[in-house]
Subunit: 455 residues, 2 copies
């Protein structure tokens, strides 16, 4: 890597939108995880695809790594510059380029966040459904194949990205996908780049699939006598084919934390929170059917939210579960885990995980997008006590192994980053070698987010 | 290519399940298209993944091409052995390996056809929704990223394949995906192989996403005063967010052909056929809403089918549209086209296509999966008249160009094969080069279905 001439050329391109200010570097050395890494050597704030392509050409000429950066909310140290290089922060490429209401399509730049996009869309009757708890960028969400609470009803980023513009290593610009709802024309490059965590190229534009704002919404919470009862209720509801927009599980510790943090008075038992979208009659019917099924599993303390603001308060509470849990152990930091299993194995996976945590020295409330078989334990560690981190890492590792044993995956939505690289061989076996070959052919100098994803 | 020793080794492996019988070779030199090619040098009928892997090892040792074969129903000469080699016919690998009802998952071998699979599933309460008109194999459907009438409600093969087992060039066996409903663990190899038309490897097993058989079904046909009215009705219905399992367009020539062929008495005007799946009340509500919207576009002659056998007759008629159209011009052969555009451009695309066909010497009824923006013209040519084929090719080419001009794709569901290779550069530009690099790295000797997909 010949850093100095590369930074000179990048400064000539971007002026003071290339920064080496210590505060800026330090900001980009942080992550929402316990993982630490060195800072990048510089941070670039491009405005256009052309500038990103020029950065990639300069980077290739001088063998300098480029690391994409959206909102920095990823949970496994994805965007850390482990071998130095230049972080490309998409903060200033955050425009909505075009909304085609008839086609339910938006073209956006990668830096726009999901909340900014939905605020922009509010008066169009449309919305973008993928909602990781954090206010992530659309580029980062595509790069991690994010999902969130609404995936059970609307799909993940895999399902809601129709096309991409990508700057490849070396600076070539390609477009993937089309504006048609489907295509059989060639290899599915869109799907290949969604979830590639910036290791195959930088996303400079996304074509997104929007959805109509539902005519009617109904949401509810209800408590269950046990974790198993709540999870079995989810399985039964999924099997009845009742269309759900969201179905979330919160264990009693999570509920207690939310009560304290969001001023709720929910029953402090295992809880499901569900939401139905549709016509007024459809939503009512689905809600009634769900109520009957849930009652059969001993559900109690139903609270229905029909007014929009009540639903909003409910999901605000759910999205605030992370800070609520953090606040439940003052001074603690969190190790956030993320596994996903076949629905039939969900009860076993959740219960074994809860028992494992109960036998450990640290607390770890459990919550999850259970309609997808996806759940998290938020392991709370005392940063001053290294034994806590060791215990958390061991628990997280056993969760991932358990998920694999049950036919699932080491990450349902957070991705690999640095934290899960060591588990890739166990999940993929020889297929990991195929990923390595794809990486090597598209990024032969290993400049795109090096140290991630492949061996 | 050292054919003789390769065939000797393959014969030692498979015995008389390696065939060089002229009739067998001739069968595998045919396709459902006007495209002709030489026959393969031999046809293998493996029974296990291990045998397929052994075939791939022998093929690599002697530089012999391997071409996958499912049901041979693809429409662009996909499975033709253009440079010779060995066709791998999956006829005898057609088992259902496992059905996990709770997870709505089936693991199947690639040779099973969609009708055989659904017959197998009948008593489980589940079904597999992707239905190209023909009784294609699941392996071929994955390889072409097939869709069909139910894609608007249930998605295409892209959405309904959870994982694959693949034999790579050289014989390495990999597994992609997991049994969990979603994952963020690494590059989406499942999506990369779905739609790769046998050019990256041979599919030896699929994990499929099944759906619950709907509690209630309601289907209807109605006629429209014009093509534009029918298409505009589709756009409006999609925008109202009414959930549909199917919505199909048939132009008046197609309706006339179906009336004659299937003994129907439908109004010989542009027609929509729709189907709703859900709860009895939900289906009724959706049907009523559709009826109101359609009436606003001048729809007439509604026929509702509520009994299962009436719905079945309706879709049997729709699926028989192809032979019906063929029969409408005795002695004719068909050139089947396939484009897909954004919904907003659908009326323009269909009308320009109809006008173009009207100005040509050949008939070409139009029908399509209009909820996806996807439609076909069935161009009827006299095989004795070379001018007809020339006219058909020119029409097909202009359809594809028109689709691209309108933001769409050269193929919504049939794929590239031989027939559309010349259009790949126009659709993908530099991204086609990326496909080429992926092909070169996964199949460096170019043995997997050579002459297809990449430059
Ligand atoms: C409280 C909390 C709750 C969360 N809940 C969820 C949840 O429910 N579901 C879920 O899926 N996630 C969740 N997350 C994780 C996080 O929000 C997602 O991983 C999100 O997709 C990251 O987006 P970002 O913009 O912050 O990306 P970053 O963290 O900035 O980057 C993530 C990765 O994407 C790459 N990248 C970023 N932009 C680009 C680009 N334009 N081109 C190429 N590569 C790029 C980076 O290099 C990095 O590898 C949560 C996080 C927090 C803090
Ligand atoms: C009347 C009619 C109507 C049709 N309607 C539709 C429709 O509505 N929608 C639609 O999508 N298609 C439609 N088709 C096209 C066709 O049915 C599909 O393309 C189907 O997916 C092909 O499957 P197959 O098993 O016949 O594959 P084949 O024709 O045998 O092969 C297709 C391709 O897949 C490869 N392949 C086959 N098996 C494997 C394997 N195991 N591993 C790797 N590669 C393999 C072959 O090499 C070839 O490249 C229609 C065809 C006809 C004749």
């Amino acid at each position: 890597m010949s850093l100095a001439p590369a930074l000179d050329e990048m400064r000539a391109l971007l002026g003071d939108r290339l920064s080496t200010a210590p505060a800026v570097l330090a900001h980009h050395a942080q992550s929402e995880s316990h993982i630490t890494a060195r800072a990048p050597d510089a941070v670039a704030f491009p405005l256009t695809t052309g500038e990103v392509a020029a950065l990639a050409r300069i980077a290739a000429a001088h063998a300098v790594p480029l690391i994409g950066w959206g909102a920095g909310t990823s949970l496994e140290g994805h965007a850390l510059a482990v071998t130095g290089g230049v972080t490309v922060d998409f903060r200033d490429m955050a425009a909505v380029i075009e909304v085609r209401s008839e086609d339910r399509i938006a073209r956006v730049q990668p830096g726009i966040t999901r909340m900014a996009l939905n605020a922009w869309l509010r008066d169009t009757g449309l919305f973008f459904p993928v909602d990781p708890g954090a206010d992530a960028s659309l580029g980062g969400m595509a790069a991690t194949r994010a999902s969130g609470t609404a995936a059970v009803g609307y799909g993940t980023m895999r399902d809601n990205v129709l096309g991409l513009e990508i700057v490849l290593a070396g600076g070539e610009v390609i477009r993937t996908g089309s504006q048609a709802p489907k295509s059989s024309a060639g290899y599915d490059l869109t799907a290949l780049f969604v979830g590639s965590e910036g290791t195959l190229g930088l996303i400079t534009e996304l074509t997104l699939h929007l959805h109509g704002q539902p005519e009617a919404v109904s949401a509810a919470t209800c408590g269950f006598p046990s974790m198993a009862a709540a999870v079995d209720c989810v399985i039964a509801t999924m099997q009845m084919g009742i269309p759900m927009a969201r179905i979330e599980f919160l264990d009693s510790a999570t509920v207690a934390a939310c009560n304290a943090h969001s001023n709720m008075a929910l029953p402090e038992t295992p809880l499901l929170a569900v939401e139905f979208h549709g016509s007024p009659a459809g939503v009512q019917e689905q809600a009634e059917r769900f109520g009957e099924i849930a009652a059969g599993f001993g559900a109690d303390g139903f609270r229905w939210a029909k007014a929009e603001e009540d639903c909003r308060a409910l999901w605000k509470m759910r999205h605030a579960a992370y800070p609520a849990i953090l606040a439940s152990r003052p001074g603690a930091k969190a190790v956030i885990t993320d596994v996903c299993v076949p629905i039939s194995a969900l009860a076993q996976a959740v219960e074994e995980t809860a028992a494992d945590i109960a036998g450990s020295p640290i607390p770890g409330p459990i919550l999850g997008h259970v309609g997808d078989g996806n759940f998290h334990a938020i392991l709370l560690i005392d940063p001053a006590n290294p034994d806590d981190l060791t215990a958390a890492k061991a628990l997280a590792h056993r969760m991932a192994e358990r998920a694999l044993r049950l036919g699932g995956t080491i990450t349902g939505e957070h991705g690999i980053g640095l934290g899960k690289l060591g588990l890739m061989a166990a999940e993929h076996g020889a297929a990991w070698g195929v990923m390595d070959r794809i990486k090597a052919t598209l990024d032969p100098m290993n400049l795109m987010n090096p140290g991630k994803m492949v061996p």
